[in-house]
């Protein structure tokens, strides 16, 4: 079920009413409702893959119980490996089988021993990369004795499948989300209202900003040979805002929805395009994944301790795996590699924690230096996004070579008709409003936290955003991160 669909507009109030008015007196029943609602939400897309979530939940629940009953290191390790094997096994099979099969076949062919490995017609289960990481965090934290294993199977199933963040995150840590299923939730007006605002903001980012950017980005990337350097450059910028609006919009809707049910999810995006360097960008972009890799991969590998070689190795491992997590294609690996290259000088020069606070805190505008740093960081990310969006490495390199030509200094031309020009002008207006609001709100939890603004302005803003979402939404409805 998509957040931006009629089905969800009916599903959400129904679950809300059942949750607060029918099942509210019994925590267990309320959790059962959340599990059922989450399974309906997921099964709406393809009910067959519910079996994966259920199986993964059972395994990690049993692993947790097993870990609580033994202190023997070998047994504990075996249980942890079981969880890792099952979760990464599912992920590996559904997401990476064909990639490895094709690449092995190609490698053997290059070595002069052509072999034929059949690729399978595998459908990637939506959200598998997200919920497997979430359940893994439970097993690892229990193994590390950071978390008491739960004996409440309903709460655990609700934690794994919690519908607001099931298919595209934020990837919650068991230490944060699981205990919330054990506590009686209370309806908090301020939290619910702010949750609604965050949902509205997320829908605006997804439907008006991302979906309209998607139309231009798709047009340009899919016909990149027909466009001049400046138009190709514009296409990459469109994609940068498409992916930001799409993914951070989803996170806003997820966090806002969870707040309606009395849950607090972690912040997933913190205005990343206002970052002054790449290290800051990665502290602000897809925070739940970055911190997951930091806690469960980077730090166990040694992190930034040890010698220079160790630091370099760890940075490359973390970014390449992060790239590969996004998809089974070399383009994602190169995207990760590029980010590692961007990051490395900052780490080696110990500049990676230089920009920790909000940019231009307490000021209306950034200083020239801050502006230039933000622009440079943004351009570096835009360049890396080309690999992320391209169909193949060949496509990415031809796109980049198209940009770096004399035509980069011409006026971009999209060859669009009159109606599209009018919609384009309206989009520019919306885009300016979006950027201004993001800038003004950059020190807050989300871009539409306007609880302190005068009531008349607040309601006018609600009306404006509702009308914009209804009238100026783009045609592209799917969320990009569903495919990851």
């Amino acid at each position: 079920m998509l957040f931006n669909s009629i089905e969800f507009a009916i599903f959400l109030p129904v679950v809300f009413i059942l949750y607060w008015f029918v099942t509210n007196r019994n925590l267990k029943v309320q959790n059962i409702l959340l599990v059922l609602a989450s399974y309906v939400f997921y099964g709406w897309w393809d009910w067959r893959f519910l079996s994966l979530i259920i199986f993964s939940s059972i395994i990690d629940f049993i692993v947790g119980l097993g870990l609580s009953k033994t202190d023997q290191p070998q047994k504990r390790k075996a249980l942890l490996y079981l969880s890792i094997f099952v979760n990464l096994g599912f992920l590996g099979f559904f997401k990476y089988f064909n990639f490895f099969a094709e690449n092995f076949a190609q490698a053997f062919t290059l070595l002069g021993n052509p072999i034929s490995l059949r690729s399978l017609n595998i459908v990637l289960p939506v959200g598998i990369s997200f919920y497997t990481f979430q359940t893994l965090s439970y097993s690892i934290d229990v193994y590390r004795r950071k978390l008491e294993p739960t004996k409440d199977i309903v709460a655990f199933f609700a934690f794994v499948s919690f519908f607001p963040q099931l298919v595209a995150g934020p990837i919650e840590r068991a230490t944060n989300l699981l205990p919330q299923f054990f506590r009686k939730r209370t309806f908090e007006y301020d939290k619910a209202v702010d949750g609604m605002r965050q949902i509205l903001w997320g829908l605006f980012k997804k439907t008006v900003i991302a979906d309209n950017c998607a139309e231009y980005a798709n047009l340009i990337f899919n016909n990149s040979n027909d466009y001049s350097g400046s138009t190709l450059f514009l296409g990459a910028i469109f994609f940068a805002f498409q992916i930001y609006g799409d993914f951070s919009g989803y996170s806003d809707i997820a966090i806002g929805t969870a707040r309606l049910f009395g849950f607090n999810l972690m912040q997933n995006f913190a205005f990343p395009y206002f970052s002054r360097d790449i290290a800051e960008f990665w502290r602000r972009w897809h925070i739940s994944l970055s911190t997951w890799f930091r806690d469960y991969l980077y730090i166990p590998l040694g992190g930034s301790r040890g010698g220079t070689w160790m630091k370099v190795r760890n940075i490359f491992i973390i970014f390449i795996i992060s790239g590969f997590w996004h998809g089974a294609n070399w383009t994602f690996v190169v995207w990760g590699l590029l980010n590692a290259i961007y990051f490395l000088p900052l780490l080696l020069l110990k500049q990676n924690r230089k920009n920790m606070g909000t940019v231009a805190a307490g000021k209306i505008l950034p200083s020239l230096r801050e502006f230039l740093s933000m622009s440079m960081t943004f351009l570096l990310t835009v360049f890396a996004w080309i690999f992320f969006r391209a169909e193949s490495l060949t496509h990415a390199f031809s796109y980049i070579s198209g940009i770096f030509s004399w035509a980069l200094f011409t006026v971009p031309n999209l060859n669009i008709n009159n109606n599209e020009k009018i919609l384009g002008l309206v989009f520019i207006l919306h885009f300016i409003i979006f950027i201004v609001l993001e800038w003004v709100q950059r020190h807050r939890y989300h871009g539409f936290a306007i609880g302190e603004v005068r009531i008349q302005i607040r309601w006018l803003a609600y009306l404006f955003f509702i009308m914009s979402i209804l009238l100026f939404n783009g045609q592209n409805k799917e969320f990009i991160y569903f495919q990851f």
Partner: protein, 306 residues
């Protein structure tokens, strides 16, 4: 306001929250109804689709189907003056699947016409490929099949593309001065064709990428049931979209369409007829003057023989 009240229906927090949600819900319905009133009055597309949907017992001799090229470019008033009682049912953005639905509904409620003209977009038009899509356009679906639920809650989500017409109405006097006569949109706006010719022959691939032969075939089958003659014409367009094919269109590989009369009004002959400076209103659409010229040509060259 207390932040951690127990949960029951009389909770003040919950009541306040639900009241506000109710107000937003009412505001949503209100703005949707305002929008519906506005587009009912100022969107040519909606106006004429509603009009065509309301026909009962009509006996037009000729019906025009197609998208905005046909809506602007075929002067049904001229044809009616010539003795062919005609109506232009084409509207902006309509594809063949939607044309089929319109025709089926019309034939079910009115006398069958003698001729149906289906205006085809140039196969070389460089635009997003919207027309082969077999889904019914939302505007027609809303008017023809809309439920009470749709009318109350869905005008903005379903008819959002009409907002462009409202914007045009506000900012363009030429748009305000345009009028619909017998279904044709007559506009005096002029925009010169500054594109250049690159005449090439059409191929099966060109044809399939712009049109949906399955629905053209269905329209033809429907016409045959009612003993109506279907004539497909490729509408004139800007020079860059014109082709080098003969007047009688034959597309290799499209055998199932061989029985349908297909004529090409978008080759070099049309360049001689339409004045590139005065006869277009923009993007390959004919203005009032161009449409009259073209319809006169269409009538003498083709229609008077039927």
């Amino acid at each position: 306001m207390g932040k951690t009240k127990n949960l029951f229906i009389s909770s003040f927090d919950m009541k306040t929250f639900l009241v506000k949600i109710f107000i937003i819900g009412m505001a949503y319905i209100f703005i949707n109804q305002i929008y519906l009133v506005l587009i009912n009055n100022y969107s040519w597309n909606l106006k004429k689709i509603v009009e065509a949907n309301s026909f009962r017992g009509k006996s037009f001799e000729l019906i025009v189907l197609g998208n905005s090229l046909a809506m602007d470019g075929i002067d049904t008033e001229y044809l009616t003056r010539k003795g062919m009682n005609s109506y232009n049912m084409a509207a902006g953005g309509l594809n063949h699947a939607t044309n089929y639905k319109q025709l089926k509904y019309y034939l079910g409620n009115n006398s069958p016409p003698k001729i149906v003209i289906l205006g085809l977009t140039s196969c070389r038009k460089a635009s997003w490929d919207l027309y082969p899509d077999p889904s019914i356009r939302r505007l027609v679906e809303f008017v023809y099949d809309g439920t009470l639920f749709d009318r109350i809650l869905m005008p903005m989500p379903k008819l959002n593309m009409e907002v462009v017409k409202l914007i045009k109405y506000v900012f363009s006097s030429e748009h305000r001065n345009a009028r619909i006569i017998l279904g044709q949109l007559k506009s005096t706006k002029t925009k010169a064709d500054l594109t250049s010719e690159s005449h090439t022959k059409l191929s099966y691939v060109d044809y399939n990428s712009r049109h949906n032969p399955e629905y053209i075939f269905r329209i033809d089958s429907l016409c045959k049931v009612y003993k109506t003659k279907l004539i497909c014409i490729e509408m004139p367009g800007f020079k860059e979209t014109q082709n080098a094919d003969p007047f009688l269109l034959t597309i290799n590989g499209m055998n199932h369409l061989d029985t349908i009369d297909r004529f090409n009004f978008n080759n070099s002959t049309i360049s001689g007829l339409i004045e590139s400076e005065y006869d277009w209103l923009g993007d390959g659409h004919l203005n009032e003057r161009g449409a009259q010229k073209f319809t006169e040509y269409l009538y003498t060259k083709l229609l008077m023989n039927y």
